[in-house]
Subunit: 306 residues, 2 copies
């Protein structure tokens, strides 16, 4: 909003965008019948998330010359999908987490049956919201369909769900000879569980803004780098971070999950995260002056405290 | 396929269509990485289902003058969604069923984590398959988007998932004064849990075949009538049916679920099912000679033994 590169403060800009995104989410996700279902859907949607994925949809559109306001339904749809994945990941059969961001997880609050269904409903209605973006003036219907195809792939078996399956089923066996297999599994998990949806978010916004293939390529590289860096920093913060700030109970360690820190050590992990961020920033030079928000976001990932 | 009204035998026609649908499903749902996920997805997709929903997609297109072959991705997508709903409904937190159609349910075979994820993946990839129908020559992209919106609504919170939530949360309290509330709940459950997706199937095929609003209206009434009749007959067969043929363990009664038979009695239920079928057949007179397959299907619902 008229912000120039030099005086840009991401820590002020992000909360402003969060408010705008929350207003849109509140508009789209109104309570319907059955009330318990929508109460559970809204409980998880409004659980204090950072709105990174919708933010990336808006930003993907903006850097490619599009209008952020015109991709808001798609931005919110990506948050629906992210939220459904958290609800299902927290289930007893998966990560078995009682708390997330300091609040009871959906199944602890509403019961497992409602949590499963609230997740299912968010996923199902996300695609309706993606389709609804076609009603916005200036958005081409062909691009909306391309976004639906993209999101289905990135969120589905070849993407996020595949990553979660390997994550939930990887062995916590600690024998030395399997270390390379573990490293391979960990990279697969994060490239799919986290990176795929971050990539889908950026590209969805860009596609709706009629991005060139060169722009899409740059955003793909950027997404892959910041996504992996984000995940490495999550592992780092799980070890050194403030438990209260993170609002998690350190279940990654309790469950003996693979983490970058456990496989590569703390120092290597922090260096790798910083290196990835440098590469991410290099990839977006094609956007010229417009790149400053994405560049600041990349820096923020390695500098954040929770 | 050149079959005329007079010599039409649905019991020969349905298995032929099932083969065609299974070939298409096998083409779309190829094993990918991670293998365990796709093994679970294929296990449930190829569990001997009757393929009613994809059949209705094809038939919705055919009666409206469309080409069945051109709506096959959408037909298979509806089977993905039906299958995901069965996998999640069978989970311990929901109906807690160990067997379906005489085979172990997904969570008994693969574990709860994999079952949840296989369901999620089928739902997610269903929307990709709906979008893929736009690549078929002669299919209009606007209609594909309309179908995605329709399916998202019918399968989501206002539709199938809402029905399942009321089903899983309705009280098995047997006090007399609440009988009217129970009847209301039961109607809601079936109109949403079963009817919504049957309606979505017929209308999806019809929309892709560029149906008139009069044709869509006729198919809506037909779907509502046969859907409810189908569900009533399910309750009837749960009581009088052959356990072996049904391949279920009678869990509806074990769980003290609301059923038409328990609320209205066996005789009333059978009469009501027949009455609904008569009304369904009346609704499709607008299709003239082409209606014979839908008419035979309606009859089949009350005449079936399992």
């Amino acid at each position: 909003m008229g912000t120039s590169c030099s005086d840009f403060d991401l820590k002020k800009y992000l909360p402003e965008k969060t408010i705008v995104i929350n207003i849109a989410l509140n508009k789209y996700l109104q309570e319907q019948y059955p009330p318990l279902l929508y109460k559970a859907m809204r409980y998880s949607i409004f659980a204090g998330g950072k709105r990174l994925r919708p933010f990336l949809v808006l930003e993907g559109a903006r850097v490619c010359g599009g209008d952020e306001k015109k991709v808001m339904p798609t931005a919110c749809a990506l948050e629906y999908i992210h939220t459904y994945s958290l609800i299902h990941d927290d289930l007893p059969a998966m990560d078995n987490d009682d708390y997330r961001r300091g609040r009871l997880t959906s199944h602890k609050k509403f019961g497992e049956d409602v949590a499963i269904l609230a997740g299912d409903a968010l996923l199902t209605e996300a695609f309706g919201l993606l389709a609804a973006n076609a009603a916005v003036k200036g958005i081409k219907i062909e691009q909306v369909l391309n976004v639906i195809t993209l999101v289905s792939g990135c969120a589905g078996g070849p993407g996020m769900i595949g990553g979660q399956l390997i994550d939930t089923r990887q062995s916590s066996d600690s024998s030395q000879e399997k270390i390379s297999a573990k490293k391979q599994a960990l990279t697969y998990i994060h490239n799919h569980k986290t990176v795929a949806l971050i990539k889908a978010s950026l590209l969805a916004g860009a596609i709706l803004a009629k991005a060139s293939s060169r722009q899409l390529k740059a955003l793909t590289v950027y997404a892959e780098k910041i996504g992996l860096s984000f995940q490495i920093m999550d592992d780092v913060l799980d070890v050194i971070g403030n438990k209260k700030k993170l609002g998690k109970t350190g279940s990654d360690r309790q469950n003996k999950k693979l983490t970058y820190v456990s496989l590569y050590g703390l120092e290597w992990s922090q260096k790798e995260a910083a290196q990835l961020i440098a590469e991410a920033k290099k990839a977006i030079t094609t956007f010229g002056r417009k790149k400053y928000i994405l560049a600041a976001l990349a820096d923020y990932i390695v500098e954040r405290e929770y």
